[in-house]
Symmetry: C2
Subunit: 542 residues, 2 copies
């Protein structure tokens, strides 16, 4: 049937009354109306109701507009998880602009590159980072107006023209706001660390953030009475879009300047925290916190983790402490989480080892994603769901980035064949759950056999003396490549290479057992990721 003669189209076009652009800004206006007097944001002794929170965001938007910031402009922010960081997630897009949250662990050169590449007009910066920002600004080739975020909890040098609180004073508390003209409009810009070359600017749009936030709320079971602790940096994919998801249900944001176990346990108890997110390294910090700072609480705290599969020892230790671990997987390019390891009804009765093996898988697609496949990267023909055949994880749908900023080549490459190519290698299990085996570049090919570095690392983590482990390929004249392990031991523990080798032979196939073991601390990126390219270089020298 042609559309002209479709009775379901005639006179039934989009209008002002029945069509609206999707935007996470609607969540704030909803929460500010529905829960106006409920605590929206907690930071130390400061508490903002949802109405106060909204007003501060409107003031920020109004002040930015007065500075000439509008559609297509970028506002950068260098801040830990304090209220201004959260407010920027609303105030900046309210002004029509794009938020660029900087990784606070970056070096001046990287920051300068990002400020230039992202064309930031304004930079909001916590004074703790004045030294690194001052140096970064000296290297930028474009003018940037600087606003100092002054936090009495961490005093630092002032380098801006105005403080954040002074800036808010100049803004209209009733600044009108709503969705953008087009839901495809850019909302935020997140730079990936990238292992090679310059970082790439991942652009998010309003529609995708709206939908991923709703997916988060559903997957994580957020409710109006939930209390969310900000252990995950908001500069990571806008806090995996939880910056908007928590507001979407009217729950409470508990800000946290620094990830310190004592403070975390204290806040869980004092604020009645129900949900939090963090990389496994954060979970590890909690597990290994001194006994005197640990607390027990009368409810189970939900912890979503991602970035690496949670080892079974971590799952067990967290549960013992009163947490429940949810495993998410995704990339900056997918607004953070794109899959979740949904727990099936029978799992809770399984022995820990079996359960952990199931939970360590990356799982199934988010309900709001669209499509997920593990496939031959070129055809893209899905691999059989046999738990063995390796393919590339690919996704497409609602919550895949708009593309890389000013980088059409990288965008085209990432989206080739109509799918976003994650670069992660995985298998598809018979139950429809995916399990990531390696980054494409981290796979070790030894004597024609594929060795998953993750599999070997997981086996190493099962040894009680191992705190951290990374396995990379070492070129070998005979085998092509052989696995080489870099291991950090737990304090006070000792183990030899031969003992580890013996142990691994009970865990994995012989050909996967590393030939070489190196003990010592592991090199990491500013986001805490182990720098395998550094280790690969070291392995070559052995």
């Amino acid at each position: 049937m042609s559309r002209e003669h479709d009775i379901f189209e005639l006179g039934l076009e989009r209008r002002q009354a029945n069509y609206r652009q999707l935007s996470p800004l609607d969540f704030l206006s909803w929460a500010a109306r529905t829960f106006r007097d409920r605590t929206g944001v907690v930071y130390g002794d400061r508490r903002y109701t949802y109405r106060e929170f909204e007003t501060r965001c409107r003031r920020l938007a109004g002040a930015l507009a007065k500075m000439g910031v509008g559609r297509g402009d970028t506002v950068a922010i260098m801040s830990p998880n304090t209220p201004p960081m959260l407010e920027a997630h609303y105030g900046v897009p309210m002004a029509g602009a794009v938020l660029n949250a900087l990784n606070i662990r970056l070096d001046p050169a990287s920051i300068a590159f990002i400020l230039d590449h992202g064309e930031a007009k304004v930079l909001l910066t916590d004074t703790e980072f004045a030294p690194v920002i001052r140096e970064a600004l000296a290297r930028t080739s474009r003018p940037v107006r600087v606003v100092d975020i002054v936090d009495p909890a961490a005093p630092g040098e002032r380098i801006g023209e105005i403080t954040y609180e002074e800036l808010l004073e100049t803004g209209d508390p009733d600044f009108p706001y709503g969705p953008p003209e087009d839901e495809w409009q850019a909302l935020s810009l997140c730079y990936t660390s990238g292992t090679t070359g310059n970082p790439k600017g991942v652009v998010y749009h309003h529609r995708g953030a709206y939908l991923n936030a709703l997916g988060n709320a559903l997957v994580f079971g957020l409710r109006p009475e939930s209390v969310y602790l900000w252990t995950l940096p908001m500069f990571h994919c806008n806090g995996w879009t939880y910056t908007w998801a928590v507001t979407a249900v009217g729950a409470t944001h508990v800000c946290l300047r620094k990830v310190e176990p004592a403070r975390i346990f204290e806040l869980i108890e004092r604020e009645g925290v129900t949900h939090m997110c963090g990389a496994p390294v954060v979970l590890n910090m909690l597990i290994h916190a001194p006994p005197e700072v640990k607390r027990r609480f009368p409810r189970t705290v939900q912890v979503a983790t991602g970035g690496a599969a949670p080892p079974s020892a971590v799952i067990a230790a967290m549960e013992e402490m009163g947490f429940h671990v949810v495993h998410l997987y995704g990339l900056t390019e997918t607004y953070g989480p794109a899959t979740v390891c949904v727990e099936q009804p029978g799992w809770k009765d399984l022995p820990l080892g079996e359960r952990a093996a199931k939970v360590a898988r990356q799982g199934v697609r988010y309900p709001t994603l669209g499509e997920l496949t593990v496939a031959d990267p070129n055809t893209p023909e899905p691999v059989p769901a046999d738990g063995t055949t390796i393919g590339e994880v690919m996704v497409r749908g609602h919550t895949v980035m708009k593309g890389y900023l000013k980088n059409p080549t990288a965008t085209d490459e990432a989206f080739r064949g109509g799918w976003y190519h994650t670069g992660d290698l995985a298998v598809m299990h018979p139950d429809g759950y995916i399990e990531v085996k390696d980054r494409a570049k981290d796979i070790i090919i030894s004597g024609g056999e594929n060795i998953s570095s993750i599999e070997v690392e997981n086996a190493l983590y099962r040894h009680p003396a191992v705190l951290e482990a990374a396995v990379v390929a070492k070129p070998d004249p005979h085998w092509g490549e052989v696995p080489c392990a870099f291991v950090t031991l737990r304090e006070g523990m000792e183990v030899t290479a031969e003992e580890l080798r013996e142990f691994l032979r009970t865990q994995i196939a012989r050909y996967k057992v590393p030939r070489h073991f190196v003990f010592g601390p592991l090199p990491k990126t500013s986001t805490g990721k182990i720098q395998k390219f550094v280790l690969r270089e070291r392995a070559k020298q052995l």
Copy 2:
């Protein structure tokens, strides 16, 4: 900034990898993959896993496609809340077609009108309704292919060319499906009784149903482990879009052929029901059920009600029985619920009377709606939030119908000034909650069904003895409201209430026939208009 020079647009257009049309069909493919072996649908002793449920829907789609059904075509269904009714909510749109679920209480003339007006190509009909459908089909002016849904629980005459189960056998169990070409495409068609003349066909689109379903899941706290009992007719706004919301979280649908208290209590206990919806009349039935059929259960069952405000006695009695009442408000034009009376933290400590007064209000907008206002219908200037000033409830946003089918005049009228005009009169309270005070039109809501007073009057006027007639709502403890007729007879003519009742049963649906008849002259204004407000007062005294 012009869009051509916007760095956030250049090379960042929508592509196959990062753009997808919103559709509730995605919920089924998600649930069938995530919860393939979990029970998706229960009906008596029948149980379908989510994968079986999906396969049945795909078979239905394939079979319909073989019958030549495709985009722009209508498939009607006359069925209580059995699995075929639920399957039609997926199978019909999978085939690209539009689902038109008929109110099973309608009379043959209304059904014939709807089948003709909606241009139904296929009608799926439960054999219980063979007599009324046979009569309706005799009156239609277009050919309709009929499929018999044969339910052993309620045998009836066969009038179709094939049974539903035979039809499924002809369909491809792997029928490929996905979102429509355009998320604005029509998904379903729901006829409202309307206040004047013929019923109007409200058209829903895929995007709106997707978003309202997510709103439902959030507002009602649906989780994968939830069990939803189908006490709300699916022909009412597609079950207020819970047909899709329950699937969106992978919860279990428990079908129910007939709303009978004994059966409801039995299912709540047996299936572990956690959530259900229904008009206050359903709540009343449960409250007044004989003690021997009532059961106690170890958890609170959430009940969402709408169509009329729940009286405090109903709230108290339901709570006493182990339910928790959530008050929703909306119209067919808003995909069912558009507002929810969100309970604020302090309410649970209030005395019942005060709490009931708060819960009786229609509340705040759904998080997924867009905008809600109580305003002067003409300007539309919002009324002050004083709890006193009356205005019209107006909404606009994501979950407002596409419009009325083949009725541009009514569509334009409903959407005038950029808002959907509900025709309901309300106040705005200082806390931002709305409270509906009256219907602008003279709709009577009886047992959750809208009865147009004008339709009943028109039927009365067809009787030779009737000179004048006016029908108003009379408050009723069980039904909420019942129609009450005031009639002036022609001089020299005589007719009894029972004779009029008999006559009306040949003209309109049984539930629309007035319970009370009052004979005598009608009060009028000086210009000759019947004063309905006077009659409403009199009706109360009867």
